[in-house]
């Protein structure tokens, strides 16, 4: 029988596998395979659409149920090679939002297994580091023995850290949400809702996968699951969300205003479950929720946010209990009839 400790271990192992699988936007095939293996036995229907979204249907619509789309994106930020010079150094551009500061001293892992480090040209006085002044060094000595070429894609590399109460890895954005969604998918036994779990692609470059997935699924309600920033580190941008205070219910971010009816539905359920939760207003960012909201004739949409420090750095940090509560909240929301 699976004890709580075992369950936690399984979840943590799953999370670690997910964050360690390379897969920047547009190159999601490996992560998609991992997810498919994990969810196949729990799915009533499973398919991959034209852009590579992995879509899993659970159950059919019953009395008082709705067609719900849950979206967690599988792609991570990364870099793409634009040029290899004669000495084997590679120039690159970003895939998704990559800050030059997080690249300094960084290590990368290419889809073909090649590893490398990021170097920086010398800077003028007062000049700030920028991606144009950086390059990737794979240890090649010339263009000819360089194992990567123009168009090759890499993610950042950093080991997973278990700090007890908190977990750290690269790509918690958004693999932690993928793990939460998978766990919810496994836990839901009976539901009146027809639930489409969309493991979406290309979110980091403009929520592109969710746009087409939402059109195809044509849901009545949408919930994105993604990470959000916190305001609980020294002299951070002011924000009420903090690690360890529970899942955050998104009121708005820069990409959309969550439907208040969806927000209130999520708050009601959190209160009923007696679990901690936080209200989130983010003056930045974007999630798949915006894509779902704009689909066809419009869809009421919201977002369940997992508080996360240091987003889009190779050391994103989440709180273990926040994850458990997120799974519980998501499962509870999806297992009952939805009254908006």
């Amino acid at each position: 029988m699976e004890t709580t400790t075992n369950k936690n271990e399984t979840f943590q192992n799953l999370l670690q596998t997910l964050v360690e699988t390379p897969g920047p936007s547009g190159s999601e095939h490996l992560i998609r395979q991992k997810i498919e293996q994990e969810v196949r036995e729990f799915a009533d229907e499973i398919y991959t659409d034209a852009l590579g979204n992995l879509i899993v249907r659970k159950d059919s619509k019953g009395e008082g149920g709705k067609r719900v789309m849950v979206s967690a994106h599988v792609d991570e930020i990364g870099l793409m090679v634009t040029h290899i010079d004669d000495n084997g150094f590679a120039r690159f551009i970003m895939i998704g939002g990559v800050s030059p500061y997080t690249c300094l001293g960084g290590r990368v892992l290419f889809m073909n297994g090649t590893q490398g480090v990021i170097g920086l040209e010398r800077l003028d006085k007062d000049e700030k580091p920028s991606l144009e002044k950086m390059f990737i060094d794979t240890g090649a000595t010339s263009k000819e023995d360089c194992k990567i070429s123009v168009g090759d894609v890499c993610g950042f590399e950093r080991p997973f850290l278990d700090l007890g109460k908190r977990l750290v890895a690269k790509s918690m954005d958004d693999r932690v949400a993928v793990a939460v969604a998978i766990e919810a998918l496994k836990r839901i036994e009976i539901t009146p809702n027809e639930i489409f779990f969309v493991f979406s692609v290309q979110e980091e470059v403009g929520i592109r996968g969710a746009i087409t997935a939402a059109y195809g699924v044509d849901p009545e309600v949408g919930i994105a699951v993604d990470v959000t920033r916190t305001g609980d580190t020294p002299k951070s941008n002011k924000m009420e969300v903090a690690l360890g205070k529970g899942p955050a219910i998104k009121v708005r971010d820069s990409s959309f205003i969550a439907d208040p009816k969806v927000v209130n539905w999520m708050v009601r359920e959190a209160k009923e479950q007696g679990m901690p939760y936080q209200m989130e207003v983010l003056e930045a960012g974007g999630t798949d929720g915006a894509a779902i909201q704009r689909t066809r004739a419009g869809v009421p949409a919201g977002c369940l946010s997992i508080p996360c420090r240091y987003i889009h750095s190779p050391s994103e940090m989440v709180d273990r209990e926040d994850l458990e509560h997120s799974v519980s909240l998501l499962s509870a929301l999806l297992s009952k009839g939805i009254q908006l």
């Binding site: 190159s27 793409m80 090679v81």
Partner: protein
């Protein structure tokens, strides 16, 4: 992608008088985003044989369907945009003088001291600049703002043009040895190529051709065209910058985007689209098999109509191919005739060896 397809008709595009004449008309036509009528008329004229399968939609896109005969054929949408960047006159400011706004991405520094053409009648005008004798050194170090510039049509010229008219550079197409120089080669070359492909379409595809509007304003025409066509795969044929010029300090150049003479530029990733890997491979393998030179368009910013096409409905695997061009969005761009013909050749060869297996899920990566 199967090997069984033989190229049914050997397609060997040439650059003769007929081709030059059509390119002349296309490049010299005035069709700024939002008012693409002149190019629309040329397209209709050239494609008379398709008139039963051709219509103009609510935004002004010209949509042409050329059905193949193969029962297993795949539906391919190809977009080439008719619009160019330019200006709109919006206020009279004295006899024959007009204030204007820029439409699309024109560097204002390209406007000063240039001849322009205005409206349906191509009324001649100029965007003047202050005589240098009258300027101060400080003045000359400032960029001239669009608000301070005027289009001058001459005395009494206000009768010849209307506010609301669009205008653009008065450049005529010219052949310079191996090169073509002209305005709006972005994307009249694409329009030209799409016309040729329609006239020589292979039988294994339904060719859904979209001569789109308002690409320069955000890939807008392609959005509705793709919704209408609902294709299996999508392609954008456009033109892209070639920044293959020397670095002033002799440093090696690593951001050239594309190079002239490098052949058609195949996109991996731009600001609007991550090209479907299977389609990128299809194009590069075709080029290698046919001995057509090709290059990658360096991953970077910018966008083509593929940016709208691939996000249509429940998604359309898409890719872009462009003719490399120096000095895009200026008074005159420069392309190599060989690059243009190779782009057309590549497109035809690639389309001819296409079938539905290209979008098989197993084929993905």
């Amino acid at each position: 992608m199967t090997e069984k397809m033989e190229i049914s008709a050997k397609f060997d595009p040439q650059f003769g008088e007929q081709e030059l004449d059509l390119l002349n008309r296309l490049s010299n036509a005035l069709a700024v985003s939002g008012d693409e009528q002149e190019v629309r008329a040329i397209v209709y004229e050239e494609l008379k044989e398709f008139e039963d399968n051709m219509h103009t939609d609510a935004m002004g896109n010209v949509l042409v369907t050329r059905k193949g005969s193969d029962p297993e054929r795949i539906r391919v949408m190809i977009a080439a945009h008719m619009d160019e960047v330019g200006l709109m006159l919006f206020k009279e400011d004295g006899d024959g003088l007009f204030e204007f706004k820029v439409i699309g991405g024109v560097d204002p520094r390209q406007l000063v001291g240039k001849p322009v053409i205005i409206g349906r009648d191509h009324v001649p005008g100029v965007i003047g600049a202050k005589a240098i004798h009258l300027t101060t050194k400080e003045e000359r170090e400032q960029v001239l703002k669009v608000e301070s510039l005027r289009v001058d049509v001459g005395l009494g010229g206000s009768k010849l043009v209307n506010i609301g008219d669009r205008a653009t550079f008065a450049t005529s197409l010219a052949v310079l040895g191996p090169s073509l120089r002209g305005k709006a080669l972005d994307d009249r070359l694409g329009v030209f190529n799409l016309i040729q492909l329609l006239k020589n379409a292979p039988e294994n595809i339904d060719l859904l051709a979209a001569f789109t509007v308002q690409e320069e304003l955000g890939l807008r025409g392609a959005k509705v065209a793709a919704y209408h066509f609902n294709p299996d795969i999508g392609l954008a044929m456009d033109s892209t910058p070639a920044n293959d010029m020397p670095d002033f300090d002799g440093e090696p150049v690593s951001s050239y985007n594309t190079k002239l003479d490098g052949g058609p530029a195949i996109y991996l990733m731009d600001g609007a689209t991550i090209g479907d890997h299977r389609l990128v491979k299809w194009l590069t393998e075709t080029a290698d098999a046919e001995g057509i030179p090709w290059q990658y368009r360096q991953p970077g910013k910018g966008g083509t109509d593929a940016g709208s096409i691939h996000k249509t409905r429940s998604g359309v695997p898409s890719v872009s191919v462009s003719v490399p061009q120096r000095y895009l969005h200026s008074a005159a761009g420069m392309v190599r005739i060989a690059d243009e013909l190779n782009t057309l050749k590549l497109m035809h060869a690639a389309l001819s060896r296409l079938d539905k297996t290209i979008i098989n899920p197993q084929e993905r990566n």
